[in-house]
Amino acid sequence: MTNTIKVSVWRGAEEGEFAQYEVPRQPSQTVLDVITYIQRHIDPTLSYRFACRVGVCGSCAMTVNGKPRWTCRTHVDKVALDGTLQVAPLRNLEVVKDLACDMTTFFDKMNRAEGKFHPTKSRDDDFDFVLPDDAKRKQASAGIECIGCGVCYAACDIVEWNKDYLGPAALNRAWTLVNDVRDGGNDERLAAVSGDAGCHACHSQQGCVEHCPKHISPTRAIAGLKRATVKAAIKGMLGGDD
């Protein structure tokens, strides 16, 4: 281990350039530690986003040596194999400044995909019994740990090609709700996730699966949505005027 590491960090917004820094190496140092060191000791004008520092909040996602990652859970010695680091903002999102992205579109798409709970009961009704080994519960459980960090969204080529595409996280969220027996919003939801900006645009390249820090498979969720929407279309649902 050399005593310092060479780091190039994106400075600017959509237009900008990589600035070079030299940061002292520490044992068990994360990429977020490196960025924090630059901001505290070299250039206080560097903007970046983080909160929990332990892989719970998902706000420190950046592009590290070309791949979207949580910087707090990325050890420098795992990625800086040649002793250099390149840190850029997440792809497919508008850059606010330096390493901080505007996540508005990402979260708007969660809403557009009807990624919200549609209640069907009141407080006077009895609970639904959802057994842990129920098939639908298992489908929901597979995707429910998503914390909305945007890594899958940055990894997705379809998002880059088709700006309207809802993206892996929103579609994964929709699929967890399709499998929620308590939810009553599936007619709207399946219509919302259909079409060339929805699940049918996915080419199953699995960039999202490859990079998801929670090891979720949005591709599997999207495949489920494809099946569910085709069934709905055959039944004449989805509210289209074709």
């Binding site: 919302a192 060339d196 085709v230 005027d241 074709d242």
Partner: protein, 118 residues
């Protein structure tokens, strides 16, 4: 998204024709491997297909599947890779479908009727 049902049906049609194509391409490649064993000649192809209703039916299904499957895929690529409007790519899809149908049926009907009266 008012086009949800139409887009879903187009997608399902491409999936369904993919399944048909998997079978057709398998038979077609098998036939090519079998047919080239003794060299390939126009006379041999015509002798096999001409007047044979089963081959006519097989290739008719093949052509229809290709005519539906390929233009749908081309439309997706054009939507992703070009600035053409949805209406334009839709029209290109329809035109390609028609071209493949005309060329395909022209070829297979030609082979089916070739040699008739010879």
């Amino acid at each position: 998204m008012s086009n949800a049902r139409l887009e879903t049906r187009i997608w399902a049609l491409q999936r369904a024709t993919a399944a048909v194509l998997a079978f057709c391409v398998f038979v077609h490649l098998g036939m090519i491997i079998y047919a080239v064993q003794d060299g390939l000649s126009a006379a041999e192809i015509i002798s096999r297909i001409s007047g044979n209703l089963a081959w006519l039916a097989f290739y008719a299904v093949f052509i229809v599947a290709v005519a539906l499957h390929a233009p749908i895929g081309i439309r997706v690529i054009l939507n992703e890779m070009t600035n053409l409007s949805r209406k334009q790519t839709h029209l290109i899809m329809a035109a390609l479908c028609l071209i493949i149908l005309v060329m395909g049926f022209r070829a297979i009907i030609g082979l089916y009727t070739a040699g008739a009266g010879a």
